[in-house]
Amino acid sequence: MLRLQKLTKKYKTGDLALKSIDLEVPDGQVMALIGPSGAGKSTLIRCVNRLVEPTSGSVHLNETEVSSLGQNQLRKARRRMGMIFQEYALVERLSVMENVLSGRLGYVSFWRSYFRKFPQKDIDEAFRLLERVGLDHMADKRADELSGGQRQRVGICRALIQDPELLLIDEPTASLDPKTSRQIMRLICELCKERKLSAIINIHDVLLAQMFAERIVGLQLGEVVYDGPPSNLKAEVLTTIYGEEDWEATIDKVDDDDDTELDTVPLSSDKVE
C-alpha cells in the first residue's frame, strides 16, 4: 500500500505545486489522477519516487518511509516502483533489449551493467515481457526505430522488469493516437491485474480514465477535489476539477461493459505498421 501524508511541494520559484496531500492507494488498485495542466499531477508521482524532492510530508510504500531514505536506500526503494513516461523516455540510441534491461540497473553492479553482462534470468524475463507485449522480434532494433505505441510497450517492459509493487505512470497516452492509447491503457491494466500491481496513472483524457481505472482522483491547484469511483464523475465534479465547460458529452455511460471490448481488439495490431 502506498500512503501519502501531508505531502507538500513548493518549488524554488515559490509555486506551491502540492498542498498537503493525503492519499492512500491499496495494493492492486489502479487509480487515475486527473486534473488540468499545472494541477500538480506530475509533481505528485515524482514526489513518490523522489525524482522531485517533497518539501514536507511523508511517503510510505508499505513499511518503508521513502521520503526519509538516504541515497542508497532510496535506490533500493526505487526498484520497487516502476515508472512509465509521457514521451516514452527510452534511451534512443540503445537497443530495445538494452532499454528493457536498464530496468534491472538497480539490481546489478556497475561493471556487469557496463559490459551488458546481465544475469540470464533477467534476459529470460526481458524476452518473456517483450513477448507478452508483442515485441520479441524487435529486441535488437534501436529504440528510435520504433513507432510510438511500440516505444511505450518497451517503456512498460522496462518498468515491469524491475519487479515493482507499484507503477507510477505519467501521461502514458498523451503522444499516442486514440486507438493506440486504448491498447496501451488496456495493456497496462491487464498487466496490473496479472501481477497484482497498484498503479497511479496521470491522464488528461477523462474518458480513458473512466474506461480503465477503478478509482479516480481529481487534482486541482495541488489539492484533491475529487476521490471516488468513475461512475460518480458527474458534470459538476468535472467543473470543480477543470472549470466551467459543457461536460455532458465527455461523461461516459458507465454501465457500458468495457470487458467485452477488451478481448476483441487484438493487443498487438500495430505490429505490422
Binding site: 515508472m83 527510452l90 536498464s102 538497480g106
Partner: protein, 271 residues
C-alpha cells in the same frame, strides 16, 4: 509600440521610430570607426613597398618553380611525424577532455561551486594559448622534438574538445536520464545508460573535427622546433631554397585535403 492607430487603420511597423533612429545611429558609429582605423593603418604603411608587391610576388613565384621534386625523399619522415603529432595529440586531448567535460557541464558536475569553476578554468586556459605558443614553451622545457609537439597539440585541444563536449552534455534530453534514475540506477550507471549514449555522436564528431584541425596545426609546429614538416619548411626558408618551400607547401596541401576527406568519411559513418 510599433502599432499606430490612424483614424480607423492600424499601421504596423517592425520597430518604433525611436528604436529605428538608435539603430541607424549605431550603424553610423560603426562606419565612422572603420574609416578612422583605415586612416591609421594607411599612415603606418609604407606605400612604396605595397606598390612594389605584385612584382615581388611574381618574383617569388618564379623562384619557387619548378618545385624540386627530388627533395621529396627528405620529406616522408617529417610528414609521418606531423600526422603522428596530430593523432597522438588528439588522442591525449580526448582522453582528458572527456572527464573534464562532465565536471564542467551544469547538469553533471559534482559541485557547481568548487569543481565547475576549476574545470572551466582548465578549458579556458587551454584554449587561450595557441598551439604554437604551447610548443614554444614546451620546447624550452622539454627540448626540441616530436614529444613537445604532441603535448602542445594535446594541451591546446583539451579545451576545445571539452568545451564542445560539455555543451553537448548540457543539451541532452533529461527525460531519458530521469527514466534511468527511476529504475534505481547508481550515479555511474545513469552516466553509462542515460547520458553517454546521447552524447556519443557529438563526441565522435568533435574528436574527428579536432584531429582534422590538428593536422594543419602540427604542420607548422616545426617552425619552433617541435617536430614535423615545419622544421624543413623553416630551414628551407632560412636558406632561401624556394624550390624546396614549394614542394613542402604542396605536400602540406595534399595532407590536409586527405585528412579532411578521412574526417568527413568518419563523421558520416558515425552520425
Amino acid at each position: 509600440m510599433p502599432i499606430k492607430q490612424q483614424s480607423d487603420i492600424k499601421i504596423w511597423k517592425r520597430r518604433s521610430g525611436k528604436r529605428q533612429l538608435g539603430i541607424w545611429f549605431g550603424q553610423f558609429i560603426g562606419v565612422a570607426i572603420f574609416v578612422y582605423c583605415w586612416q591609421l593603418v594607411s599612415e603606418n604603411t609604407i606605400w612604396m613597398f605595397v606598390a612594389d608587391a605584385p612584382r615581388q610576388a611574381v618574383d617569388m613565384m618564379e623562384r619557387m618553380v619548378p618545385p624540386k621534386w627530388s627533395y621529396m625523399s627528405n620529406l616522408w619522415r617529417p610528414i609521418w611525424d606531423t600526422i603522428t603529432i596530430a593523432t597522438l595529440g588528439t588522442l591525449m586531448a580526448v582522453v582528458f577532455a572527456f572527464p573534464i567535460a562532465f565536471l564542467a557541464a551544469r547538469n553533471t558536475t559534482p559541485s557547481s561551486v568548487f569543481v565547475r569553476p576549476v574545470a572551466l578554468f582548465i578549458i579556458v586556459a587551454s584554449r587561450s594559448i595557441n598551439s604554437l605558443l604551447w610548443a614554444l614553451m614546451l620546447v624550452t622545457i622539454l627540448g626540441p622534438g616530436v614529444f613537445a609537439g604532441v603535448l602542445a597539440i594535446g594541451f591546446r585541444s583539451i579545451g576545445f574538445c571539452a568545451k564542445l563536449l560539455y555543451e553537448a552534455i548540457e543539451e541532452i534530453d533529461e527525460a531519458q536520464v530521469e527514466a534511468v534514475t527511476a529504475t534505481g540506477a547508481s550515479g555511474a550507471q545513469i552516466l553509462n545508460y542515460g547520458i553517454v549514449p546521447q552524447i556519443l555522436p557529438a563526441f565522435a564528431g568533435i574528436s574527428v573535427f579536432r584531429w582534422d584541425i590538428n593536422i594543419r596545426e602540427s604542420a607548422i609546429l616545426g617552425l619552433v622546433g617541435a617536430g614535423g614538416i615545419g622544421l624543413q619548411l623553416s630551414s628551407s626558408i632560412d636558406t632561401v631554397t624556394w624550390t624546396q618551400v614549394s614542394v613542402i607547401l604542396l605536400v602540406i596541401l595534399v595532407t590536409v585535403v586527405a585528412s579532411e576527406w578521412v574526417s568527413a568519411k568518419v563523421r558520416h559513418a558515425i552520425i
